[in-house]
Every structure is written in C-alpha cells, then in structure tokens.
Symmetry: C2
Subunit: 375 residues, 2 copies
C-alpha cells in the first residue's frame, strides 16, 4: 500500500479519476450500435423480426413467432481483482461469490425485458493454463456458478475456458456470461411501451456494491489505513463487504408473473448508479419519496471518497439494485413478493408526466436528461 | 526478436511447448461439465428440456416446443496479438479480419448442431478505456463485425465493451462472441444420431490457420529471420498470411438446407486439428482417401516447427476448416453447393463400421480413440 499525501487523502475521488473514461468508449459504442441496428433486417430472411424497442435496452429481443427470444452477454468487470487480493490476504477463495456476480450481471439485465432466463454460457478467460491449476479456486468458481444457476432456475449450457496469456494478465481471469431467455407468453414483454404516469417505482435492495463501481472501490483502497482489511463495521472488512455477491433478481420477476403482475418497465441499477432510473427513452418525471437504507460498504465508500450525495447516487447503487415500475395497484404486492423471497423491497416513488428527470426528494437531488446518455 | 541458439532453432515445436497446457485446464472442464449437466432439470420448470446429446457437442440445444434453441459463447484467443504486432509493423489495422474470426468461432460451432444463427452479441474487453481511443482500429473492428454478420445473415444484437485494466493487458483486447440460433424445423437437428456407416465425409477448405494454433504460430515467429515479415510466399508475409480471416461456413449449411440436404453430423475443425473428426461419441472408423491442399501458411508452420504430419494434423486444420458428414448420395451436391458459394470443398472420405479411429490414408496417419478426450 503506497503512502498517500494528506491533500490527496481528502480530495474527492470520482469514477473518472478511478480510471474509466466513458468519453473514449462512447464514440465506439455509438458506432457499434448503428452498425448493429443495420443488421436487423437479416432476421426477415428467416421469417422473424427484431423488437425494435429492445435496441438500447439491456437485452436484445427477437420475435420468433410463438414467443420472443432475448439474449445478452455481460462481463463481471474488475471485481475478480478484489477477490484475488482478498484471497492473498485471507487464504480464502472468493470465486463462488464472484461466479454469482457474473451470472447476476447477465440474468439481471435479461429479465428487464420480461424474459425468463433459460440458458447460461460461461466465459472464463484466464491469463494462462496455470490459472486452472489452483484446484480449490477453480472448484469454488464451478460451485458458485452452479449454485447461481440453481437460484435462477437456468440451465448451464456450457462455455469457453481459454488460456489467454498475453491478453489476460498472468494470474487473472476475465469472467463473463451469456444468457438466452424466452419472453413467454409474449404479454410478458416489457420494453417500455406500458410505462405511464401514476406507475409506482418499487426498488429492490442491493447486497452491496454488486459489480459496478469496483474501479472506484479499488482506487479508494489506496487511501485506507488497513487497505482491504479496514473494517467497514465491526468484524467486516472492506474487502469482504465488497465481495458480497450480487442479488439475483430473476426469482422476483418469475414470482411476479405467477402472481399476475407484469412490470411496465424494469431497470437494472448498475453502472451510472441511480441515473439508470432515467433509462426509459420517453420523457417522464420519476419522483422518489423514499430511499432504501444505504448498504454499509457504500456509505463507507461515499464517506472515504468524499463524495456528496449527488456524486454517490450517480455512480453507485446506494442500496437499490433493481427498479420495477408497476401499476400503482400492484406496488404493495410487488414489495411483499420480493420480501417473501428474502429480498428487501419498498415502494420508493412514482412516475409522473413532466420533463425527463429523476427527483430524489429526501436528498434534494435532481438528475436531468443530460445526466444519462446511453443511446 | 531474441536471437535463438541453433539447436533450439531446429527442435520440434509442439503445441504444449507453445504454452497451452490442457492437463491443467481439463480437470476444471470435466468438473464444470458435470456441474453444468446437473442444472438441466431446471428447464422442466419452464416446460422445456435439453437435447441431452448436445452436451459435449459444440453448442447447447434446448427443446422449446416448436423448435430447438442453440446457444454458445466463443473466444477469439490470441490472434489479436498477431493483429497488434502486424499493425505496429505495417501501420495497417487488422481488426476487421479478426472481427470476422471472432464471429466465425461462434457461428461455425453453432451450425454444427443444425442451427441457423440468428443473433450475435459482441464481447470486446479492452485493457483500458484508451484502447477505444484509436478510432481507426475501433472502426475496423465495428466494420468487420458488421460485415461478418451480413455474410452469416445474423442480427447483431448488442454487446459489452468493458475497459478491464488490471485484468486484460494494457493495449490488448479480449474478443469473444455469443450466438443464439434456432434449429427450425426440428428435422435439422444434427447431434449425431443419424451418422451411419457409408456416410461421406466432405471437407470444406480453410483460409489458413483460422483462430486455432496461434500460440504455436506466435512461438514460432521467434525462430524466423524476419519475424512476422518473413515471406511465406512471394509478396505474402507470415503475419499477413496468419491474419487471413476464418471462413464463415453458415452460408453453406443454410444453402444445404434449402437444397434438401441435412448433414448427419458436422465437426468444426478448430483446436486439436483433424482429431476433431473423431468428435462423434460413437465408434466409427473415418477413412480419409483425399486430403485438401495444405494452405501455404500451414505448410510453412509445419516446416519451420519441424513437425511431422501426425503432429501437424493433430494440431492445425491443414487446409480443412469444417467437416460435413452426409448421405453418400448427397456428397457431390454438397461439394458443388459449397463451391458455388466460393468455398473450396471435396469428398474426402467415408464413415465405416469399425473401431473409433481416423485413418488419413494418403499420409499414413492413424488417430485412435485415445487421441481426443473432449467429454
């Protein structure tokens, strides 16, 4: 751990300072999105068509007649580095946890469009064959992956385990998951056309940082007196708290369907924090009257990174991992269904006609249309 | 380029020496395959079931009633390093080529089970945000990806473009693709149950090394007097020859279907070279009477790596990128259909009752059951 000068110690640490520069990535994204959109006509040759509204949503949806197919690939990101650092310090393997995170990244995005996840494929690209020689770690990865599939009721189809010396760093692994699901029956499709003023916003609790904001969290550790082992609360180190696995939300969306509740829209709260609540393309005002308790590790990050609430809520999930926009009459039952599955939930706000903005009233924060450019 | 002692220069270079140790990876693969197989029961809760014979095949297949869904995730591997080295030497970007390779890795596997590829997702994990700042290279990647989707008639659904500093090496990118397709109508399923003695083996030409054996090819460059720029033939450097993009074979399988030809089995010839012809789980003898011309870059590798034919055919595709096992009466038409699409093809052999073995008669090579352990 390098010593840090006092003035640096007290400066605000933003997500950009943590090393992710979206200004460099976004032009490619736009260009790729345009090229991708230009390929959709190919589906017609097979008698199918895309659900155009799914372009720009978290998963891509194709109409194949009797139902829709949704697909996605998602990456864990740099959380594996935290697992490696903590393994070196504690001797424990954290790969069962980050296996769940990886599946959560794919599954929690896939369900936003109303899909039931059916098949997951594993993408485990190691920095060399020797990565797989640590049998305990490899076994933890397999077991955590399997368990997450069991929770989501998804079949693990197979995957790819390349040894990529020279591309992936030695001793590291790049974890990703692809997921294919069905929207069946087709009435379950939720790509935004049903969202209306008066809808309730139900927020499902997160378990911690999930797998977004880890660059910031890793940058911050340089400032902490005991590094990864700095206590967040008695008996819980910063590293361990960060490694709480991401909540898998598909049991909630499946249970909602069985209860006859079809969300009008969903947002998985990942990168860009609460700004993801502005994801829907149309202009609505999202008025939040109740915020969930902030998970201790996120409160700790906000405090030590000297972030004000606006910065923190624009970057981290701050206790809310998934947003369900439902008919107001269904809001309380939605909360109860999530809670019955052991996932904290609350009616947090309401959708209103008005300019595109998110008003987090208890904190006096406003995010406008300019604060989230995803399309 | 480091100087190499003469005795090293003349030693045989095997795939294992090139740094990929399957002995370390395989136990994890077996453990993962077992855990994955144990999740298949989840499909029943959704009213579906897996096609059990697809476990161990190149793509995973689920029966969803009106048709089968196949899915896969595949990685480019280390070919991106060759593209980077050649870009440094020539100033050209080779990312359009390796984009096609990446899609080929997924699509050419997916079609082996009889699927029509429908949707591709891009997984482009860079060693940092700055990777995306090279607009020319990024644009080549986008354009090559789009063009490959056009060739395969597949919709590019979206993808993930993470900046993974600390996991992916600085200046590098980890390219992968996931693909979802349909086997529609269900009669197109080819997971091996139809393969019979008397079937013809049709081999489709490769364009070069494709994307398997690159670790060996990169190791070999250390021995070459002009490195990547060593001529393979007049006007064609080793690096450029290696970067010939992988042939996309899905136009062939789609055209075969339109012509009423359903392959009894397919094998994508990737890692393990011609041993992949032994992929089918049952015991058959595959007798090869005609081998395709060896692509110049592969002949060059064999020569400079001092590999005998057995070693070369057990590692590299040696001119054959894809194998179609078809009814003998369909063999000649299969060849003609491939050729009409600009893909060289030939009737190369026959399936016989007998012990599991591959006999490459023109070369006097025999591979037995022990030479390929994929399941």
């Amino acid at each position: 751990m390098k010593p840090i000068a006092a003035e640096t110690q007290n400066a605000t640490l933003s997500y950009e300072q943590a090393g992710v520069n979206y200004d460099l990535i976004d032009p490619l994204k736009v260009s790729a999105q345009r090229a991708a959109a230009a390929t959709s006509g190919h589906l017609a040759a097979h008698g199918f068509s895309e659900v155009k509204a799914s372009r720009g949503e978290s998963a891509y949806v194709v109409d194949v007649g009797p139902f829709y197919i949704a697909s996605i690939v998602e990456c864990l990101g740099s959380k594996a580095i935290v697992a490696d650092e903590m393994a070196a310090l504690t001797g424990r393997s954290w790969y069962a946890s980050i296996a769940q995170d990886t599946i959560a990244m794919a599954v929690n995005d896939l369900i936003t469009v109303g899909a039931t996840p059916l098949v997951v494929q594993a993408y485990w690209a190691a920095g060399g064959s020797d990565w797989f020689g640590d049998a305990q770690r490899a076994q933890a990865l397999v077991e955590g992956w399997k368990r997450a599939c069991d929770v989501c009721g998804v079949a693990w189809g197979g995957g790819e385990t390349p040894a990529l010396a020279g591309i992936v760093e030695g001793g590291r692994i790049d974890l990703a998951a692809s997921c294919t699901g069905l929207i069946n029956p087709k009435e379950r499709l939720s790509v935004g056309d049903r969202l209306s003023p008066g809808d309730a916003i139900v927020l499902l609790d997160s378990s911690g940082i999930h797998a977004n904001g880890l660059s910031l969290a890793r940058k911050l550790v340089e400032r902490l007196p005991q590094g990864w082992l700095t206590p967040v609360q008695p008996g819980l180190s910063y590293g361990e708290a960060l490694l709480a696995p991401t909540v898998l939300y598909s049991p909630v969306t499946e249970a909602l369907w069985r209860a006859g509740i079809v969300p009008h829209y969903c947002a998985n709260i990942t990168g860009h924090g609460w700004r993801k609540l502005l994801r829907h393309p149309a202009a609505f005002t999202y008025r939040i009257h109740t915020v969930p308790p902030v998970t201790p590790v996120l409160a700790f990050i906000q405090q030590h990174a000297h972030q004000d609430d606006r910065e923190a809520y624009s970057t981290l999930n701050m206790g809310a991992g998934f947003a369900l926009f439902v008919e107001a009459a269904d809001a309380q039952r939605t909360v109860e269904i999530a809670q019955s599955l052991g996932i904290g939930a609350r009616v947090a706000g309401i959708v209103e006609a008005g300019p595109k903005q998110l008003l987090i009233e208890p904190l006096g924060i406003r995010f406008g249309d300019d604060d989230l450019q995803l399309r």
